[in-house]
Amino acid sequence: MAEIKPILALDPTLGEEGSCPENPVIRNFSIIAHIDHGKSTLSDRLLQSTNAITEREAREQILDSMDLERERGITIKASAVSVRHVHNGKHYLLNFIDTPGHVDFSYEVSRALTACEGAVLVVDSTQGVEAQTVANTYLAVNNNLEIITVINKIDLPAAEPDERAMEVEQVLGFPAEEAIFVSAKSGQGIPELLERICEVLPSPREQQTKRTRALIFDSHYDDYRGVVVYIRMFDGKLSVGDKVRMMGTGRTYTVTELGKYTPKPQKVTTLGPGETGYLIANIKALADVRVGDTITQELEPAEKALPGYEEPRQMVFCDFYPATTEDGKGQNFEDLREAMEKLALNDASFTYHAVHSEALGFGFRCGFLGLLHMDIIQERLEREGGVEVVQTAPNVTYELLKRDKELVEISNPADLPDPSLWLELREPIVRVELMINTDSVGDIMALCLSRRGEFKSQQAVSEMRQFMTWEMPLAEIIYDFYDKLKSITRGYATMDYEIIGFRKENLSKVDILINGEIVEALSFISHRDTADKRGRALLNKLKKQIDRHQFEIPLQAIIGGKIIARESIKGVRKNVTAKCYGGDVSRKRKLLEKQKKGKKKMKSIGSVNIPQEAFMAVLDTSE
């Protein structure tokens, strides 16, 4: 393994750029790809080819650091790795900026891309261009990045590199003949890719000001060191001991450590223009750091922050409640709170606050960037926090224009006031990009139309594949849209979405009454045209989930007092064991206690016991 010396600030006195290790040519780039197209393997292979890691280390995908990421094959946390490389006698410093692979993190992706001058676009030669390929490429193009196309996995028997290169040309406009055919697994094509990275990708831009400006493009929480902030230096420099200010949040800190991942952390004393690295400054919580924010010197601050900073906005909401176990002993709310607080240290993009539900007791209402983000949080709560949670059906954020013209966000259907108090209700609209097989077009059209989709465009990628864009309410895709899409296309389709705004629609809140009582946890907001159907479907689901009681249980779906659907659960006719049980009272008592509790986790609403699973019924109301 080559000796890697930490570099000092770039110093013009060291001679021509690239002439010595202390003054290397810098290349900042990301690898962008659809999920599972081999991004992580390619990263590892590149690191290995520059001797930054050994073959054994390469077996692990070292850029991904969390178990969960590896299991799901996706990257949640971006990180930056700096490696040295010598090409044509010149010394290079290659900074890999890893990006999250999913659209829920598109803001983070775009910030990470802002830190780069180039991107390596990876397309699986057996799969071709997918929805996320397109979405990520657009993000890269919008950031003016130079793009190198890589057709990966050419070692596989099903590889069709030429066809895939043509797809890239057709859909994305990058010439097919410029694509590099690579097998990240065998290493084929890697030297050529490294060469292209060195020769084609641009150097960091010239400084625009002498005052320090560093972009925060990612951060993570380290149990021992607090928050580790990933930065890209654009202007000026940062040194250990500097007092710095975050221009967006206004917070100030003293830099205690600077460094680079090579990929092992390596301390440096200074970071100069064009460089990427990490910064530690005794920051306690991830929430104190905003991706996209600009770091400057407290004493000589820059006049303007770097552009593009946004507050993270949660678009999908659901409640988490501590689950009760079979013996009736639940984990308690405090355990859940502790797990939430711990997780929040690690993920600043989800929000939570305590709520109380008549049906489910005390829990938390949580906001997420998107659906995948929600799943990840739930899994991490259970895995890392060791708590079992009951998750309610997710819903989106609505914008409510009140009579007094005040615009408020509604993230819980239960919070929607009486219609007489508001003027209009707006729902989030997304642009959905779909890559599907040609023979599914008809069914996909039908599916999207049934979800209130508005057709935007269709483009043939190849004879077999079509790229479609639609505009749809976010609410219509958070239920089971993706599953439906996958099943119609036999797993083929890929999807990406982006929120494009809010639109006024004919929306109503549907309340569910069980035995005459409104169960708030089951309320949902629906377009009026589909409310009846969804209400009916939900009642049918509840009918299957709720055990028969000894009385008939009416189920109703109502909009503002008007019944739109009704069902009933027939009463049990008999519930008495007649055997006189000798003197074994204990045993009989245990049987009755079991009868009361049943096998399921139950919540009582009035006199009806509702299994906790029923609160998820609102999720899947399609059939």
Binding site: V576, V585, R589, L592, Q595, K597
Partner: protein, 414 residues
């Protein structure tokens, strides 16, 4: 059933001494369990087995030791109940010994009822005579059904005609108080068949002057052969509507003949109720002897170790005290739950004032109070003028569900 050891408390195998060796025990009832059967009925989940090694004498010997040990905890006994198993399978000379022991060890001067469970096949004139001489005043005969086909389904192998014979032997010997057990809801049984069965039984009851009947729907107890067959799909349980029909028919027919439903499945002419069972349901104290027998005293509940060998071994090695399983120590919420559970099954119901006293707070917001009000409102429970809470006519079909709901309201909610 093959539980070989009892539970331990502080490293010691627990036995009923924990409840019974205290000067303030004054149990007025005694249950004795005889585990022997000549065939194990497929619905039965009581501890019983076919004794191929003839350990009857050993059993009685151990029983004598056990009875001696616990006798100081007894006051003047009011009721004795010998159940099983098949107590009538015990040979007459052993019965003589057992009855002698009971008379020697306990004060029977106020004994109001002494019941022995009998299998119709095993009652002989000699046995009936021995029982009566030994002080037995009541017999409970397991007829179950008069239809050979349904008896076969239950794996009961007696000849239906022997029911009448056994009742006669008992009457002739002077045991006038007799009860008959009936089972309905047997797989394959129709409502009409049960009606015919019931009519046969009622004719017999009239002819024999019998004043007590237990009639209950077949229950699939866990671990029994019937339940196994049901799970394997080798038999089909009758449908809910038919069972409800049978239940209602049973209640109405028995009521017509003057048999009052004093408990969910027990019926008696006025004054002929089984005092021993009432003691259970009224949460009285009772002693328990024999393998798997359950006892209740001073808030403790326990069950003797079930296996005959284990029970005899523990009685022999622990000064006559059987090891116990399922020991429950005094616990106020549990006692309350049990009072509700057993009390609700009785026509007399529960004394609401006593319940309130036992439950502590009982205001309008109290969950138990709310549940009670809910069932009163739905017509399942009623509160009588004497402040007794009991099942209303509609509630009798749901006794378990109601009891479970009331008991459930006792546990603290999050």
């Amino acid at each position: 059933m093959n539980q070989t050891t009892g539970i331990t408390v502080g490293g010691q195998r627990a036995d009923a001494r924990i409840a019974l060796t205290s000067p303030d025990v004054d149990a007025r009832s005694l249950y004795v369990h005889v585990p022997f059967c000549f065939h194990k009925c497929h619905y039965c989940d009581f501890y019983s087995f076919v004794d191929s090694r003839d350990r009857q004498a050993e059993f009685v010997q151990a029983l004598e030791v056990e009875l001696k040990a616990m006798s100081p905890a007894a006051g003047r006994l009011q009721t004795i109940f010998v159940g099983g198993g098949t107590p009538s399978l015990l040979r007459p000379e052993l019965w003589r010994r057992l009855l002698q022991t009971l008379g020697d060890r306990f004060d029977l001067s106020q004994l109001a009822e002494f019941t022995v469970e009998c299998n119709p096949e095993t009652v002989t004139r000699e046995l009936a005579e021995v029982l009566r001489e030994g002080g037995v005043t009541r017999a409970s005969v397991g007829a179950q059904s008069f239809d050979a086909r349904h008896l076969k389904t239950l794996e009961r192998w007696h000849d239906p005609a022997n029911v009448e014979r056994s009742l006669e032997f008992l009457r002739d010997a002077g045991i006038a108080r007799r009860s008959v057990d009936l089972i309905f809801g047997i797989p394959g049984q129709t409502l009409a068949e049960w009606e015919a069965d019931l009519d046969t039984a009622l004719g017999l009851l009239d002819g024999e002057g019998i004043e007590h009947v237990s009639a209950y729907a077949l229950t699939y107890e866990q671990g029994t052969a019937m339940t196994k067959k049901l799970e394997l799909g080798r038999l089909d349980a009758i449908d809910e509507d038919t069972e409800v029909g049978m239940q209602l028919l049973t209640w109405s027919k028995l009521a017509e003949r003057g048999f009052g439903r004093y408990e969910v499945s027990n019926f008696a002419r006025a004054g002929a109720e089984c005092l021993h069972n009432l003691a259970y349901w009224r949460q009285e104290q009772w002693l328990a002897a024999g393998p798997s027998a359950s006892g209740h005293a001073r808030g403790f509940r326990w069950k003797n170790v079930p296996r005959l060998t284990d029970w005899m071994e523990s009685v022999r090695t622990s000064d006559g005290w059987s090891s116990v399983v399922d020991l429950e120590t005094p616990n106020a919420p549990r006692a309350l739950a049990e009072r509700i559970m057993t009390g609700l099954r009785l026509r007399e119901g529960l004394d609401l004032n006593a319940l309130q006293e036992q439950a502590g707070t009982f205001g309008a917001g109290d969950p138990l109070r709310r549940e009670i009000d809910r069932f009163v409102q739905s017509g399942d429970l009623e509160i009588a003028a004497d402040a007794r809470l009991r099942l209303a006519e509609r509630g009798w079909l749901f006794a378990d569900g109601i009891a479970a709901a009331l008991m459930g309201s006792l546990s603290p909610r999050p």
